[in-house]
Symmetry: C2
């Protein structure tokens, strides 16, 4: 800290450097996006993983992702999502989680990756498997994925994404993307429970749901869901303008 002026001067030189626009003159960096795609399959929280076909981490499981092209970061994430799942981006919750930039996270060169999290409605999840070939994307239960060895720092990205949705599911309509187009209260409660990682009291959850109903974020849908016991009423999220 002895000579802040000199440091500042160096910083200004850098800015000037950039202003001369010789982008090849500094150490190369690549920017990628990695997407933590989550859904619910058979009452299990699952994440979409691909198997790496090249070194490093050849054969390891990894998050779907790729280079950012001439597009925004969000657009890159949407594109990767479409490439890996074939799903359109509407009706998919997608949010930036955090940037990961450890210099050693990729052994080949400096790669800064922007982590995203996406929630896919479970009724659309089967479409994903259908479109995939052998080396392509597959769903893995989150708990087991976290125990596996994942490529790069994808384990950290996965954890950050899970924390992201956990923090937000209580205070937003994030969970809308983890149930089908229509759903019953117990179904929604099951999704919340999967993300929260614990059981939720049916009565208390129903009380919270009543508030969602009053606030017009959900509304009744026609019909009843037939199960092996008492059928439940069906609801749907009201489509906001967005």
């Amino acid at each position: 800290m002895g000579a802040p002026q000199e440091r500042r001067a160096r910083s200004l030189r850098e800015r000037d450097f950039l202003s001369r626009y010789r982008p090849r003159d500094y150490p190369p960096v690549a920017v990628t996006v990695d997407v933590v795609v989550l859904t619910v399959i058979d009452a299990r929280l699952c994440v979409l993983l691909v198997r790496r076909g090249e070194p490093p981490f050849l054969g390891d499981l990894a998050l779907p992702g790729g280079f950012v092209r001439d597009e925004s970061l969000e657009a890159a994430a949407v594109r990767e999502l479409a490439e890996e799942t074939g799903l359109p981006s509407d009706r998919v919750y997608l949010a930036q989680v955090q940037a990961f930039g450890d210099p050693a996270r990729d052994p080949r060169m400096r790669v800064v990756s922007i982590g995203f999290v996406a929630l896919v409605r479970p009724d659309l999840a089967p479409m994903v498997r259908a479109g995939g070939d052998a080396s392509a994307a597959r769903w893995l239960e989150v708990a087991s994925a976290r125990r596996r060895k994942l490529a790069f720092d994808h384990r950290a990205i996965l954890d950050a994404a899970l924390e992201h949705v956990r923090e937000r599911i209580e205070r937003s309509a994030v969970a809308a993307s983890l149930v089908g187009a229509t759903f019953t209260i117990p179904e929604l409660r099951a999704s919340y429970a999967l993300v929260a990682g614990r059981e939720l009291d049916p009565g208390n959850f129903r009380r919270r749901f009543r508030r969602l109903l009053e606030d017009r974020v959900v509304e009744p849908a026609p019909g009843k869901r037939i199960t092996s016991s008492k059928p439940a009423s069906v609801y749907r999220f009201r489509r906001p303008a967005a």
Copy 2:
């Protein structure tokens, strides 16, 4: 969405591309950090801004920031903070906010910037001004900074940083970095109020503070703060192991 297989193949080709390590072969990207440095001066929430000395946005105010070198993103932010403020990184709250990567955010080339927020203890803030020269960093009240024209998308970064601390100040000890080494309850309340952007009830705040005391996150400090009326008890945050 018609041919996901082809898209996936292209994606795999990209990975292979990267594995051959010819980093000059794809469009150049630069990665920078921009730091929203906040403090309290004269009971005003202030942000540290620098004046740009080169185009684009020559003469405009901008957040301090610069290229990420062979270091982690956090390290780059710490370094920029030290360069611009001369302050050591301990006792400064620093957190990543979000990545900003709009293709048009820098007219010269593709620059992805990782936004950080830093909170500087107000008793250290004067040191910053002392070390600065004419073209260097200066404190500006946040409200007025938000009304100004800022370089690049720094207005959006500033807003995101403010939202970040607003969300966290209630549920963490973030505010520890916005009061001096020792402080009174009214002083802490004033900092909270500045960040929250509204008045806080003294009685209710005191009740919350009592919980902080019971949880051992703060502890009494010797002495009293003499003001123009009734003196207040002095406290300090207990230093955690970190």
